[in-house]
Subunit: 550 residues, 2 copies
């Protein structure tokens, strides 16, 4: 049987990365990530791939290989493991972060987590798996070389090529160059996230230096907001703070937890034993001795940074003389929330630095020139861009074609790619889907429910209760009218009274027979009220009439 | 009496620009704009200032001065004119665009529109009003010099300093420099929109040249999307198309209407009489002879551009060989919608150019160096930044202070600034508000309603109807359960059945007396169902129980 490669998520979207490799004897997954909901997914916590498509391959499913510890690569693993009891392979930090997630689902005891080296090589069913280190915005990242009867396959995971990485372990260019010289690489699957950025990404060390300058020059406290998974950058903050005689107070649950995990795994070290400062003691120190390191860089409304800016945080209130640094990307969709927190920081008197005006953030993904290095180094016969919106995949494919890769193709979620004798062909499409996770429900919130939620959010609802006698058709009770999200309490009495009259008139106008048919009179009431609200207010609330027959 | 200046909108936000000047004898407004809703304003069409605060000044309200024809400067004029019958002063194009709006409210007949020259000077009550031309992303823009007993005041409107403006009329630097040399300017109110951008804004001519190159080189059709009010740029498209032997098909209602208005007012001219191409004939021409000029640059889901990308437009379907150009800003909040339309354009086979990767858009607002020119030229004694988020106003104030303006201050909406004998003081705050416009309702959708809509959008609703005998407390009907936005139709039967049982059990558990009190049993049902859904689904739908007593 040929090798089948099927992206379950992440090809045609940002997040929810997961890719199946199945040679008919064994199958494995690279990553099981989640996607954060966009603003059309009302009330949805997050989105995961539909792992139900793996059922057919369940018996030969040999394991899950993780590339790194970001949510869009590990965040759906708990849902995968609930259905399939398979071992999970990852580096220490990746598994450490996964463990936090599994604890939330009470799965930490049952899961079989296998720690691998960043350059480890091991057997997984019929596959020879070789990890190789990659630099990214979280430590301990890897890509994978998979070898099976049908060829040699390289998956980069998320990567950049940083010449001076904070942990001293560069992306494995030497290993990949040697691979290409010794073996023919059948296909390369490479990270497309930053294909639209020209040139090279900046090294992480730039940010450390920029922060160091800020810590030196700032007249008072410096409040740095970032993602708590960016362990390298947290290390950079600690080192820079130590250099300039500042101590660091950690804010935000995940910040405190991830620092503890990274320290216990040796992924981070304290430059001075007393560098960390309990947040409740921050006010006791002179302002120039304090750095506050917090989550909330995306302007999340209840995050520590927002509360600090609004003066509602328990320990830290932003004031004149503070410098706030957003050391993170403005993630598309969050711009308004981020702008809002920046405005509040300014209004509270702080100076604010962020990636648009200062070098306080660098990306963890390869820019165009680095993508070219990867393609040029691996010299694959086939090229499949991974991770990103369709336009990124198309641009990345075009780049590979320009570089002379013989077969560069775009695949989207569900596309079945077959590799046999070093040749790729397309074998149709797997009906991959996605599940919306809302509370305990997985997949029961569908487009149907979201459509209702959307409609309710735009127009509100009007509920009518009317009880009729089943014998005479006379009104026994009502009409009772309840609205939500249509009218204010004050000044809406006239509108409600008018609606009540409309219902009574509809009842009067209907024949005696119709009055005995709740379904028919419900339809009439709905139609009449729709007309009424549209004419009176130019609004079209959801109308829910309940006509009882007694 | 001193002159009172009060911003009614636009100071502390983007949009809804309106500023009151009131010297006790006469009062006038500069602009009456709307704001587009952000994603927290569910179902809101747009937002306008609360002009109710003008009631006290109504008798001396002498007129509305418009700076230019963008919605955030003229879009609330219809609502102002409904309440106050005052004359409106504006240049020909500004009034032409206002007329479109007034027609929609059946106000076009009644309104007193007074056409002014771009460098006109006239009396308005106790004020001497002098308009001066400014360059912006719409033609026919002006700023105003207001003179009254309390001083000389300059309001820039929205402006940039373009050395080679498309209509040949530069921002009135000579006039303003002469003003400063002849008279002492008491206060300058200046556009803060782009204070975060270093250097100079690029001239509009750059875009014309970039488009010309694209029209020359593109292998097939070119589809250009932009705001239909950007008359200069539309002119640029027509001229560039004529130069390269292409004809231009207009798509989108406002595009067709604004071109007609601009042509009739002489703000635009056709480079060739046959340059415009009926859109239904576009397919008959060779692809290299066609430009499609359309709205939809913000990724609006039902716009012409989106329909073209999805293959759902009546006349134009995007295909391999097309080049799409988004000649506009990525407005914050719209990034995801814009990314979505770009993805669909790519998937349909088009090449896509936009401001992030190509010089196909320039801003209509002054960058930092131009803002410095304005301040340096006008040499005001006081400086009040206008138009923008708090952080822009604060940065712009800091810039003025660095430049040595004696009194630079931030004012926010409602702040009362008093000028007497050339001195400014603060005289408290006017309770300015904003009205959400939703259909015909103005101001009846308040935070209360939006909170309900938000809650419904996140969690949906569960409605329960139960009829009890008023004498025995026995159940005569129900419980009937209707949900919206909580559960799907399929697979939710068990949840609904469970909810029904909970209601019956609640009824059973309540004492005989409670059964006769609908309010009490309603509360019990709400509480029980809230617990039930939270436990079963970790969701908290809005629960609306109706208990009838018969």
């Amino acid at each position: 049987m040929p090798l089948r490669v099927v992206p379950l998520g992440g090809l045609g979207e940002i997040g929810m990365n997961s890719m199946l490799f199945d040679d008919g004897e064994s199958a494995l997954l690279i990553d099981a990530g989640l996607m954060f909901p966009d603003d059309t997914m009302l009330g949805v916590d997050f989105v995961i791939p539909d792992f139900g498509v793996l059922r057919e391959a369940a018996a030969r499913l040999a394991g899950l290989l993780l590339t790194h510890g970001h949510e869009d690569h590990i965040g759906a693993a708990a849902y995968l493991l609930k259905e399939y009891d398979i071992p999970v392979y990852g580096t220490p930090l990746t598994l450490g972060l996964l463990r936090h997630r599994l604890e939330e689902y009470d799965l930490d005891g049952a899961a079989r987590l296998v720690t691998i080296e960043r350059a480890g090589r091991f057997r997984l069913g019929s596959f020879d798996v070789e990890a190789f280190p990659v630099c990214h915005s979280i430590p301990d990242g890897v890509g994978y070389i998979l070898r099976c009867g049908d060829g040699v396959f390289v998956h980069t995971g998320d990567f950049k090529i940083d010449p001076r990485p904070p942990d001293g372990v560069p992306t494995a260019v030497t290993r990949l160059a040697r691979l290409a010289s010794e073996e023919k690489v059948t296909a390369l699957f490479s990270d497309s996230t930053n294909v639209e950025r020209e040139g090279y990404s900046l090294p992480e060390a730039f940010v450390g230096e920029a922060l160091s300058e800020i810590f030196e020059g700032a007249p008072g406290r410096v409040i740095v907001a970032m993602f708590s998974s960016n362990i390298h950058r947290i290390q950079g903050v600690l080192s820079a703070a130590a250099r300039h005689g500042r101590r660091v107070a950690l804010c935000g649950r995940s910040m405190v937890r991830n620092v503890a995990t990274a320290l216990s795994l040796g992924c981070m070290r304290l430059p001075r034993p007393d560098i960390l400062l309990p947040v409740e003691e921050a006010e006791a120190l002179p302002d120039r001795k304090v750095v506050v390191l917090t989550t909330g860089s995306q302007g999340e409304p209840r995050s520590a940074l927002t509360l600090m800016a609004l003066g509602e945080h328990k320990h830290i209130r932003v004031r004149e003389g503070d410098t706030a640094v957003l050391s993170s990307k403005f993630i598309p969709g969050n711009e308004r929330a981020i702008a809002s927190v920046i405005n509040h920081l300014f209004l509270a008197g702080a100076e604010v630095l962020h990636e648009k005006i200062s070098e306080v953030h660098v990306s963890g993904h390869a820019s165009r020139e680095e993508l070219k290095i990867m393609i040029g180094m691996v010299k694959p016969d086939h090229f499949i861009p991974v991770h990103g919106d369709p336009r990124f995949l198309i641009r990345h494919r075009n780049l590979a074609r320009e570089m002379g890769v013989p077969h560069a193709e775009v695949a989207l979620n569900g596309d079945i790619l077959e590799f046999a004798d070093g040749k790729m062909s397309r074998a149709g499409k797997l009906a991959v889907g996605r599940f919306f996770v809302d509370g305990k429900g997985v997949g029961d919130v569908e487009s149907f429910v979201l459509k209702d939620r959307y409609q309710l959010s735009q127009v509100g609802m009007v509920m009518v209760v009317l009880a009729l006698s089943s014998t005479t058709g006379e009104i026994l009770y009502g009409p009772d009218i309840v609205t939500r999200g249509v009218l204010t309490e004050n000044g809406s009495e006239a509108s409600i009274e008018g609606a009540r009259e409309i219902v009574v008139r509809t009842w009067e106008d209907s024949g005696v027979e119709a009055r005995k048919d709740p379904a028919e009179i419900q339809t009439d009431i709905r139609r009449a009220l729709r007309r009424y609200f549209n004419k009176r207010l130019e609004r079209k609330p959801v109308i829910l009439p309940v006509v009882l027959e007694l």
